[in-house]
């Protein structure tokens, strides 16, 4: 009987983390931030059909970066959890925190027990009655969950983009200003991002039940060009 090579657990975890990080770094970043009337999520995404941002429930949205098939199956599972919970109990009982925890548990399980970690980083956002009650949970490939205050960035170049985004933030942002802050942070000083390369959605505080709304290119272009 042949013995498998001994690999230290530290090494196994490190290899998996490197693998996941590399996968995530290949994709473009995504930014989310609170503004006066809701939460805006902006992703660099040339595809019109393969969405990175999506609706989960009345006031909850999902966003993912990394490997599409993996975060898309996480999205579906989240919708399932939320809809079953809302149907079994009540619509009010569906909240972002418990959903984020469920995601964290799953990602942690996959990271520790499966051969291949998930190459994803995801965001669960819930819009509240005012800016202070908005919730942004960022969950990374190994199940670490971070409760972000006001804004967050996901993806390969997250730290740099986040610095730029933080520099653009003010206390009173309307939707157009929030969009421009997110887009200029994602683009950086050397690039200009066109509406066709952006996927934008908002969770609007003022909408009746389903707060999620996609901002389509027709609406985006004038908002972006208002920069000057």
């Amino acid at each position: 009987m042949s013995m498998p090579f001994y690999v230290a657990p530290e090494q196994v975890m490190k290899d998996r983390a490197d693998y996941a990080r590399k996968g995530i770094a290949r994709g473009r970043s995504l930014a989310a931030l609170s503004y006066d009337e809701g939460i805006l999520i902006c992703a660099e995404n040339p595809s019109r059909t393969l969405h990175k941002v999506a609706e989960i429930y009345d006031r909850i949205a999902f966003a993912g970066v990394g490997k599409f098939s993996e975060f898309d199956s996480l999205r579906t599972s989240g919708i399932r959890l939320a809809d079953v919970k809302g149907y079994t109990y009540s619509r009010e009982d569906v909240d972002a925190r418990s959903l984020a925890n469920a995601y964290a548990q799953l990602l942690n399980n996959v990271f520790t027990h499966e051969m291949k970690p998930m190459e994803v980083e995801i965001l669960v956002a819930e819009v509240g009655a005012d800016k202070d009650s908005d919730q942004l949970f960022r969950i990374s490939y190994e199940g670490t969950i971070v409760d972000e205050e006001g804004s967050t960035v996901l993806g390969g170049d997250a730290d740099t983009v986040n610095e730029r985004l933080k520099a653009n933030l003010t206390d009173t942002l309307d939707m157009a200003a929030a969009l421009r802050a997110a887009v200029s942070a994602l683009a950086g000083p050397e690039r200009v991002l066109e509406a066709a390369n952006l996927e934008v959605a908002v969770l609007s505080r003022t909408r009746a039940r389903r707060a999620f709304r996609r901002v389509l290119p027709d609406e985006l272009t004038p908002l972006l060009s208002a920069t000057a």
Binding site: L74, T76, R80, Y87, Q105
Partner: protein
């Protein structure tokens, strides 16, 4: 609750009821020996007009000979551009509406686009068909489904039988215990191209005549201010008509009937 994760052969896809079955198993069949009275909802109507569809339902629910509720709602939004009205055993009917609403929204979110109106109508048919064993036990649910078809740009009405058979109606339909009277009233007053006010008036008159002939259908309750639930569905979406407006239509109807002298 933990995230529902399925092996690839077990995945319920975009169906919510399939998902529930995978998670909870099949629910036991309710048996009705006739020993208990079951709450029944009664008359509902739907008719087309120039902008879309009007749906309406009276507010009475009965348990045998007694009145179980004076203010039950029988007309519900199914999603943004369609509505469902229910007659039959109130418990399973309201539950079916809730499941149907969740089903439509679930599909829309998972797939990223809404079902066609026809697809939604068929979906409801399937739910009624699955309720057939319960219908045989006396817990029948008979809805009307109506909506604005955004692709064809017209209002459409679907009726169902107990087996889930789905039939599209041209201009109007009414069902429930007073359905026949409501249907006749609407048939006599119907013409093409009714406007919104006329359509609401006709729906309300259908319910009024049904209440006149059928003990299980509630008439307008002026003392308590309870009037039928009325909703319009147009290109702008599902919109519940305010109680004030329905009260006003009823006021006009009663005035006319008084002036004309209602036959005894």
């Amino acid at each position: 609750m933990t995230l529902p994760i399925f092996a690839s052969g077990q995945d319920p896809g975009s169906s919510f009821s399939e998902l529930l079955r995978r998670m909870n198993g099949d629910q036991p069949l309710l048996r009705n020996t006739g020993a208990v009275e079951i709450t029944h909802g009664t008359t509902i109507v739907a008719l087309r007009y120039s902008e879309g569809v009007v749906m309406a339902g009276d507010r009475r629910a009965t348990e045998g000979y007694s009145i179980a509720s004076r203010a039950i709602d029988k007309v519900f939004p199914a999603d943004g551009h369609s509505g469902v009205a229910i007659a039959g055993a109130a418990g399973p009917a309201v539950e079916m509406v809730r499941l149907f609403q969740t089903e439509l929204e679930h599909y829309e979110k998972v797939e990223g686009m809404a079902l066609s109106l026809e697809g939604k109508a068929n979906q409801l048919g399937g739910m009624i068909r699955r309720n057939l064993p319960m219908a045989m036990e006396g817990l029948a649910v008979v809805p009307i489904y109506a909506g604005y078809d955004l692709r064809r740009r017209i209002g459409r009405i679907f009726k169902y039988d107990l087996t889930g058979g789905r039939y599209e109606e041209g201009d109007f339909h009414a069902t429930g215990s007073g359905g026949r009277d409501a249907r006749t009233t609407i048939k006599l007053g119907y013409r093409d191209g009714l406007n919104r006010a006329e359509a609401i008036q006709l729906a309300v008159e259908g319910l009024y005549q049904a209440a006149d002939e059928d003990s299980a259908t509630g008439g307008p309750d002026v003392v308590r201010g309870i009037y039928p639930t009325v909703a319009t569905i147009t290109v702008a979406g599902f919109d519940r008509v305010s109680d004030e407006e329905v009260a006003q239509r009823f006021g006009e109807l009663l005035q006319r009937k008084t002036a004309e002298g209602h036959p005894r």
